[in-house]
């Protein structure tokens, strides 16, 4: 890539960022907006620098919990979706309950998670898994149900077993949907982990909680910034794996 094309790919997302940060800084400097309502970006940056060791440790804790939660919801969600896709009866019986996970207000059940799992990481992981499991179930199910009928006929023609059909046809065909579910789930897992940390302790959730108590809105923003970075990292990782596994054959990942 030449410098010019590189610039062309970086500039569009960078420009709005620079403009909005500049506007925020200017508004606070001119005292149009008091800094206890919205911190100047420079204050947030200062806070990022001052508390970097604490924030880094907190970010690691949150990332590892979010990853563990995501893994848990991926395994259980995929298993659940495969089970549901295998029988209409099962789907009608259980799918409505999967929707429960979509609508559960995590902040209101988080205190219960502490009573079930105790303080610390188990609660945080459970919280991350609960909020991230539904998109995985829904997308995987959609993927498994939308195999091309002609290919299914072909497999039937060759008297393939159910297991062969599942592993060699349905799952590979569902991969794009599975990955799009994972993308949504990975952002949600970070949110779930932070909510879990409000109640269970540790990580960026704790940092936000303490900073709020001390009216340190700059630190709140610094922690929020890092948590969204974690989301970006997770989504990026999913994109990477998706490109690796689909790039060679599926139109959604093929370079145009």
């Amino acid at each position: 890539m030449t410098l010019k094309t590189r610039l062309a790919s970086w500039l569009p997302p960078l420009l709005p960022l620079i403009l909005s940060l500049g506007a925020a800084e200017f508004a606070v400097r001119m005292a149009w907006v008091p800094s206890y309502l919205i911190p100047a970006p420079s204050e947030v940056l200062q806070s990022l620098l001052d508390d970097r060791s604490e924030l880094t440790m907190a970010a690691w804790a949150t990332l590892s919990s979010a990853l563990a939660g995501l893994l848990l919801s991926f395994v259980t969600g995929t298993f659940f979706a495969i089970t549901l896709s295998s029988s209409d009866l099962a789907r009608r019986a259980f799918y409505p309950y999967a929707v429960f996970f979509q609508t559960v207000p995590i902040i209101s059940i988080a205190p219960l998670l502490v009573i079930w799992f105790g303080f610390g990481q188990p609660t945080v992981i459970a919280s991350a898994a609960i909020v991230s499991v539904f998109p995985i179930i829904a997308s995987t199910l959609l993927g498994l149900k939308s195999t091309e009928p002609s290919l299914l006929d072909l497999f039937t023609l060759y008297t393939a077993s159910r297991r062969q059909t599942l592993w060699m046809l349905k799952i590979p065909f569902a991969l794009p949907q599975i990955f799009s579910g994972l993308r949504i789930a990975s952002g949600l897992a970070v949110v779930g982990a932070i909510v879990g940390e409000f109640i269970g302790g540790g990580g960026l959730g704790s940092v936000v909680d303490a900073a709020r108590t001390q009216q340190r809105i700059d630190r709140v923003f610094a922690a929020v910034l890092i948590s969204s970075l974690l989301g970006v990292v997770l989504v990026g990782a999913v994109n990477f794996i998706s490109a690796l596994s689909l790039g060679s054959w599926h139109s959604s990942e093929r370079k145009s």
């Binding site: 800094s35 205190p111 502490v114 303080f119 302790g201 303490a210 108590t213 009216q215």
Partner: protein, 316 residues
């Protein structure tokens, strides 16, 4: 002749219009940081006795919930008056606001640590030195004070989510409390609790402080004076005879039963009016106490510069 009549009637009209203006109460909101309970008894007593209305004020007491950012709401002029802790006022001013303390309900801060008596603790130091769990608001000034004072703690600090559910089920669980509230609730659930004051450990900011913006006070000096006078009388009444205000608060906040409310109102009396305090001195604050608080917050590195102590509060 007609012109004179017209003039007279006009004068009369404008006169009645003015009279109407004078009897109209000015509406002000007063934001609490929790539901109706004895901690706010004097405010409800003032409202019940018509003390605000007598002074031309229609005060609406707005209940809060967990995490209602009252100081920030006052600083941002969403409500003219609110409730905060003294340390919140200092932090808020250092962050650039002009929020000022006007009346302190608790001379001794009732913030404490409550524990299971079977564990045999004699002080907060014992709680920190023993294994177990302590639920406490992370980052709060009193938390940082205790962490600094009792370094090398064996106890595990965990977030405090409110309530006493965890305390009732876990024998190794200690938690923050208002010694005038949660221990009474625990006793009611047949789990008697022992409690220790954080004030006794050396951190004693004024508690349940009425706050307003300096800008607002300077613009409405009479209204502020009247409001604080009514609040003062409300508390004076409430300490003498809390029954009617208690009955009203139980109705507003059914989570509290009348027996606990009655008991809590009794237990908190010495916190509001210590033996050496006269009725007139109710709610008054001293420069030394504010200066101590500022020094402590500075030592805890919660503030990087010390605000002018005189600007933090005003006694009316």
């Amino acid at each position: 002749m007609n012109v004179v009549l017209l003039l007279i009637s006009l004068m009369f009209l404008s006169h009645t219009a003015q009279a109407g203006e004078a009897t109209k109460l000015s509406a002000v909101k007063f934001a609490l940081n929790w539901k109706a309970e004895p901690e706010f008894g004097g405010f409800y007593a003032a409202k019940l006795a018509g003390s605000f209305e007598k002074r031309g004020l229609n005060v609406e007491i707005v209940e809060g919930g967990a995490g209602t950012p009252v100081v920030q709401m006052v600083a941002n002029s969403k409500v003219p008056f609110g409730i905060a802790a003294a340390d919140e006022v200092v932090l808020s001013q250092v962050r650039g606001t002009d929020v000022v303390a006007l009346f302190a309900v608790y001379q001794t801060n009732p913030q404490g640590i409550m524990v299971h008596p079977e564990r045999g603790f004699k002080s907060i130091g014992d709680v920190f030195a023993a294994p177990g769990t302590l639920a406490i608001q992370s980052g709060a000034p009193y938390t940082l004070f205790l962490q600094a004072k009792f370094a090398n703690a064996k106890v595990k600090l965990v977030p405090y989510a409110g309530g006493i559910a965890q305390f009732l089920t876990d024998a190794n669980y200690s938690q923050q409390c208002f010694v005038t509230a949660e221990p009474l609730l625990a006793k009611k659930k047949n789990k008697p609790a022992a409690s220790f004051l954080i004030a006794d450990a050396g951190f004693n900011p004024y508690g349940t402080v009425v706050v307003a913006r300096r800008q607002y006070i300077d613009k409405n000096p009479k209204q502020v004076r009247d409001l604080i006078e009514a609040i003062h009388n409300g508390w004076s009444d409430y300490l003498r005879a809390p029954e009617s205000a208690n009955a009203w608060m139980v109705k507003l906040n059914p989570a509290m039963d009348s027996e606990t409310v009655k008991e809590s109102a009794e237990v908190q009396k010495p916190f509001i009016r210590p033996a050496n305090l006269t009725d007139k001195e109710l709610g008054k604050m001293s420069k030394e106490r504010w200066a101590t608080l500022v020094d402590q917050l500075f030592a805890l590195k919660l503030i990087k510069k010390k605000p002018a102590v005189d600007k933090l509060y005003e006694n009316f």
